[in-house]
């Protein structure tokens, strides 16, 4: 929204938002980058947090992603949605990080020493509701962290980012059929964990 306002006030009106972002990134326009960071801060952090399961790591990767956006901005051609391109950089940065942590497969790359995954801020109309909701969210997040990262990633992209299956496939460089399978398996893998957490 902020980036949209920035673009609307400063650039040619006939161009699409993506094309304008691409042009700004080629120029390494600091105002545009500031606006994009503001606009996509929560979505990117949420994605990285779900992928890594650790807030401190996710915050480091968040900064790394924006540095890559600055340096590789000329590669964004504006033909796809900016958020898809941004998340694909986030995906690559997270994968690089996870590979460095352990050369084994991505499924085995969860660090058991990192403790509770993250603390979502609770909200609700009363302190009681707030506490119950907070507890439920914590349980759900803990359950989510037990799902293999490959499945967790597609679930986050599908449900939180509301991405189409084709967009997810493009973003993480896998066939469409694999996206469908991972969503299906992810939902099934999460089901007993949610039930277990609720008990």
């Amino acid at each position: 929204m902020i980036a949209t306002a920035f673009i609307a006030s400063s650039l040619v009106p006939m161009e699409t938002e993506e094309a304008q972002i691409a042009r700004g990134l080629r120029r390494r326009d600091p105002e545009l980058l500031d606006a994009l960071i503001e606009q996509y801060q929560h979505r990117l952090l949420r994605y990285l947090l779900h992928l890594t399961g650790n807030r401190a790591v996710a915050e480091d990767l968040f900064q790394e992603v924006w540095m890559r956006v600055l340096e590789k901005g000329h590669l964004y051609d504006g033909r796809n949605r900016f958020v898809t391109w941004l998340m694909s950089i986030g995906h690559n940065v997270a994968i690089d990080y996870l590979r460095k942590r352990s050369p084994a497969s991505l499924d085995e790359m969860q660090d058991p020493e990192e403790g509770a995954p993250f603390e979502p801020p609770a909200h609700g109309p009363s302190p009681f509701d707030e506490a119950v909701e907070h507890q439920q969210q914590e349980r759900f997040n803990e359950a989510l962290q037990q799902v293999p990262p490959l499945f967790r990633e597609v679930l986050v992209l599908r449900f939180q980012e509301q991405m189409k299956l084709e967009e997810i496939a493009k973003l993480i460089h896998i066939p469409l059929a694999t996206v469908k399978t991972r969503i299906y398996r992810g939902v099934l893998a999460l089901k007993p964990l949610i039930k277990g957490a609720a008990q």
Binding site: R28, P30, L33, D34, I37, E38, Q41, H42, L44, L45, R46, L49, E59, F62, Q63, W66, M67, V69, L70, E71, F118, P120, P121, H123, E133, Q137, F140, N141, L144, L155, V156, R158, F159, Q160, Q162, M163, K164, L165, K180, I183, Y184, G186, V187, L188, L190, K191, I194
Partner: protein
């Protein structure tokens, strides 16, 4: 009901909500779900997962955003400076190469004239003069490679981060 029907149903379940399904697909899915227990259960699990995931509130802190913006700005400035420096280096290189070629030609002729004037061998005088010309440049290049200029990115970035954090407080 075939496996293909179940596959089609799970795909349509995954697509609905983010994509506009054709009326025929919506109708087919509804009739399939009314007759298929496992797919109905999956649709419920799917919606439940989505509801729980969307309820998770994760936000970036203003300090993180400010620090990221400061880092990105500092890096952008550094890259811009590096780029303009590269342009200057390229121009200097071209001018240097041109003037070196012209002066080398003149010094070569001067060597020939000296050799002729004093009766020395041009095969020794001319390369000797050329070597004397390029030797200082070789020495300076070696020194520059051995002691590169320190980068300004570190202090500049810290200053920008401090400035940003100060502004947000």
């Amino acid at each position: 009901m075939t496996n293909h029907d179940h596959e089609r149903a799970t795909e349509l379940i995954a697509r609905r909500g983010t994509e506009e399904l054709a009326a025929a697909d919506v109708g087919w899915l509804e009739s399939h779900l009314s007759a298929c227990g496992p797919c109905t259960q999956y649709a419920q699990d799917f919606d439940n997962t989505g509801r729980l995931l969307r309820a998770t509130a994760i936000t970036a802190t203003p300090a993180l955003v400010a620090a990221t913006q400061a880092r990105v700005r500092a890096r952008a400035m550094h890259l811009a400076e590096q780029r303009s420096r590269m342009v200057l280096v390229a121009i200097s290189f071209c001018l240097g190469a041109l003037s070196s070629a012209v002066s080398a030609l003149l010094w070569w002729r001067f060597g020939s004239w000296i050799a002729e004037r004093f009766g020395w061998s041009p095969a020794i005088v001319q390369p000797g003069i050329m070597l004397a010309l390029v030797l200082p440049a070789i020495v300076i290049a070696g020194l520059m490679l051995a002691f590169p200029r320190p980068s300004i990115e570190g202090p500049l970035m810290s200053a920008l981060v401090r400035e940003r954090e100060g502004r947000n407080q």
